[in-house]
């Protein structure tokens, strides 16, 4: 049957199993919107295209499915760029459809024309300009395949207006094979055997898990390994939730704002099993000082991640899940006949580090400590909510003080550090899970970057909770100014701020303000119980700092502890 380009797009989305599209219309996609009501897709009309891409991203992170975003040409497309880069840095599968001016006008500086394919070339996994409607079905199939396989990432399809109305015979490819793209999933068995061997012999092993564990749904396999060999586990920001925080082997996050125990343990280990992580500079600190005495095993699906920042002794190119399954197949029978070398001295040492300098703060009777707020949220939700964050101190406190129990329950912009991400991402997660409690732990600065999405949340009845840790500052930058720039608080004070309670109410959401430490728990509980979007404006200690902190460029053992 002959279909128009717009119909082909929508029908193909349906066949890919897409249920929700986050979008914002305009002249270059009006033909797609004209057809949209005929398809079983839920469309969420955001209030800014940045909201659409972050929501699609949050949806993808919460579910593991591909998030989809639809915007118009020109400004619609450029408004998504920050969100595309955010998804790219954190390897999130999203497909972005941008309208484009009609093909005869491309290159003419036509109204609302931008070269979005050129602009996003370095922040997408791949992108397409479809000039011939006969290519469209294949391109969509490829886009979903690319976005969701190998190391996932955003894929953009730029669709000129005339292509949307051209007719062609529609046939959606059932399978796909690309001669130039074949990601490696299965590990080399020889490498796996080597890893099993060094793991069994290690005296001071540690697991350093990254986002790849979550992306490949390998959390249970990781937990099996850690428990079978009694190995302490630390994780990056991207991997929080991959290992239950109540397990005694859990050390917390490592790196710049990592725990004392995690940073000490990785620095003194003799074997580091780095799985689905990438030795980012926020994790390693001064690279020449990082884990100098350790043998490093690195498992990653992306060969470019391996040997990029540190020298690796046993590299394994594989999907984390496939690797862990293969490893278990070797270890399980081997351990049954001969147990692994005991490393009690090591686990004791690690426990000592944990006990010596745990994450801490002191809540007094007058001023609310932001850490206390996060801990209270953790307690009230039993570690089972979906937590999104903005960026800054709020993000680090959420990472440190919420006791995550499940993968895909911590959604935060790690690689790009995008302020404004958390709230629209929470909308995306809430669309995916209408019945779960979704909470954006926000800063007073960041929340103002995508605040317009309150209208979206109200409009679709999404009961997202925004908890603002309101310190009246761009707190993280202020912290750097305090510690490294002689308290020159230039351009970080936000003393002119909206009344967030009234703001919530103006949008039709509910608003609460807390200033008394004694009211934190009851107010949060009341807010969480409301079946509507809520802002809880928590006025916190203005100059509280995130600790520990490794100053930029220092070794991760050189932590500022208070």
């Amino acid at each position: 049957m002959e279909l128009t380009g717009a119909q082909i797009l929508l029908e193909s989305l349906r066949r890919e199993g897409v249920e929700v599209v986050f979008g914002f219309p305009g002249g270059a996609v009006i033909d797609i919107y004209d057809q949209l009501p005929h398809y079983p897709l839920r469309h969420v009309l955001v209030r800014h295209e940045q909201g659409a891409i972050h929501a699609a991203d949050g949806y993808a992170r919460a579910t593991g499915k591909v998030g989809v975003c639809l915007v118009t040409s020109g400004p619609g497309a450029t408004n998504t760029v920050t969100g595309i880069a955010t998804a790219y840095m954190d390897s999130v599968p999203v497909v972005i459809i941008t309208g484009q001016v009609p093909t005869p006008l491309i290159g003419n500086d036509a109204f609302q024309e931008v070269d979005i394919v050129g602009i996003t070339r370095s922040c997408t996994k791949h992108n397409y300009l479809v000039k011939d409607v006969r290519d469209l079905a294949r391109v969509i199939k490829e886009a979903f395949y690319l976005a969701s396989t190998g190391r996932p990432g955003p894929v953009l399809i730029d669709l000129p207006k005339d292509v949307q109305t051209q007719l062609t015979e529609y046939k959606y490819p059932k399978t796909i094979k690309m001669r130039s793209y074949n990601p490696t999933y299965a590990p080399n068995p020889k490498q796996v055997a080597k890893v099993a061997e060094v793991l069994r012999k290690a005296k001071k092993p540690i697991i350093y898990a990254g986002g790849g564990v979550i992306a490949s749904e390998a959390s249970d396999d990781l937990a099996w390994l850690a428990r079978a060999l009694d190995i302490p586990v630390t994780a990056t920001l991207m991997a929080l939730g991959c290992f239950p925080a109540d397990d005694p082997r859990w050390l917390g996050m490592l790196g710049m704002h990592g725990t004392y125990a995690a940073n000490m343990a990785i620095s003194h280990a003799d074997l580091i099993l780095a799985i689905g992580s990438r030795f980012d500079d926020r994790v390693t600190g001064k690279i020449s000082e990082f884990a100098k005495n350790a043998k490093i095993v690195h498992i990653d699906i992306d060969p470019t991640s391996i040997q990029k920042n540190v020298a690796v002794h046993i590299p394994v190119v594989a999907d984390c899940k496939s690797f862990l399954t293969a490893l278990r197949d070797i270890l399980e029978p081997a351990l049954a006949t001969e147990p692994a070398a005991s490393h009690e001295a090591w686990t004791t040492k690690v426990s000592d580090w944990k006990a010596e300098k745990p994450l801490s703060y002191t809540q007094n009777e007058t001023t609310i400590k932001p850490q206390f707020v996060v801990e209270t949220i953790s307690k009230l939700t039993k570690g089972e909510a979906v937590i999104t964050t903005e960026v800054g101190q709020n993000q680090m406190w959420a990472a440190q003080f919420y006791a995550f129990t499940k993968p895909r329950s911590f959604i935060s912009s790690g690689g790009l550090g995008t302020m404004g991400f958390g709230f629209p991402a929470a909308i995306g997660a809430q669309m995916a899970f209408p019945d779960r409690l979704v909470i954006d732990v926000a800063g007073d600065g960041s929340i103002q970057m995508c605040i317009q999405e309150l209208a979206t949340a109200v409009c679709y009845g999404l009961p997202v909770k925004i908890v603002i840790l309101n310190n009246g500052y761009l707190g993280m930058v202020r912290q750097w100014q305090e510690l490294f720039y002689k308290k020159n608080y230039c351009a970080t004070c936000l003393d002119v701020a909206p009344d967030f309670v009234k703001l919530a109410e103006a949008y039709g959401a509910a608003g609460f303000r807390v200033t008394d430490p004694a009211k934190v728990e009851s107010t949060l509980a009341e807010a969480f119980a409301l079946p509507r979007p809520v802002i809880v404006d928590v006025v916190v200690d203005r100059e509280e700092n995130v600790a520990p902190m490794v100053p930029a460029g220092k070794s991760i053992t050189e932590m500022i502890l208070v």
Partner: protein, 160 residues
């Protein structure tokens, strides 16, 4: 060290920009670049020469392989290969100089492809060292213009 990379890519719009953007975006340097279609419909071969230590070259090769439009990347510096580059030179050939230029043409097995009373256009093929040597010699006489193709290269036969 200088490396010569042979990159087999899908011949589609934007491929050159993807490769060039990868080099510029990550701070790598392209010394020479050559692209042309292969015998297989829809595929092109790029030859890029670049410099960097082992770790950088390893990253470049992996990053190139990661591009969705790349089929194959070979570092020809690691295998026995033949490398050639073609160059056109417009040289000063007035009066006395003409004989000297023609002698060099002979030694370097250049071809004279255009003649005018006061200059000659030469065509020469060779590896980089040969072309550099020729330029050094002719510079003393006077080079008015140079156009080079950048290296192309191929693995030699009979090796693993």
């Amino acid at each position: 060290m200088r490396h010569i990379l042979s990159i087999l890519v899908e011949n589609e719009p934007g491929v050159l920009a993807r490769v060039a953007g990868l080099f510029s975006g990550r701070g790598y340097n392209i010394e020479t670049l050559n692209v042309a279609p292969t015998l297989t419909e829809g595929l092109s071969m790029m030859t890029i020469t670049t410099t960097g230590d082992e770790a950088i070259i390893e990253q470049i090769v992996k990053q190139l392989r990661k591009l969705v439009t790349t089929l194959k990347v070979v570092d020809l510096t690691e295998v026995k290969s033949v490398q050639r580059e073609m160059m056109l030179l417009r040289v000063d050939a007035e009066g006395q100089k003409r004989v000297e230029v023609l002698r060099i043409v002979d030694i370097f097995r250049c071809k004279v492809v255009d003649v005018s009373p006061d200059e000659l256009v030469l065509e020469v093929t060779g590896n980089q060292e040969k072309l550099t040597a020729l330029i050094n010699l002719l510079q003393r006489i006077g080079i008015k213009e140079v156009a080079r193709t950048g290296a192309v290269a191929m693995k030699r036969g009979m090796q693993e």
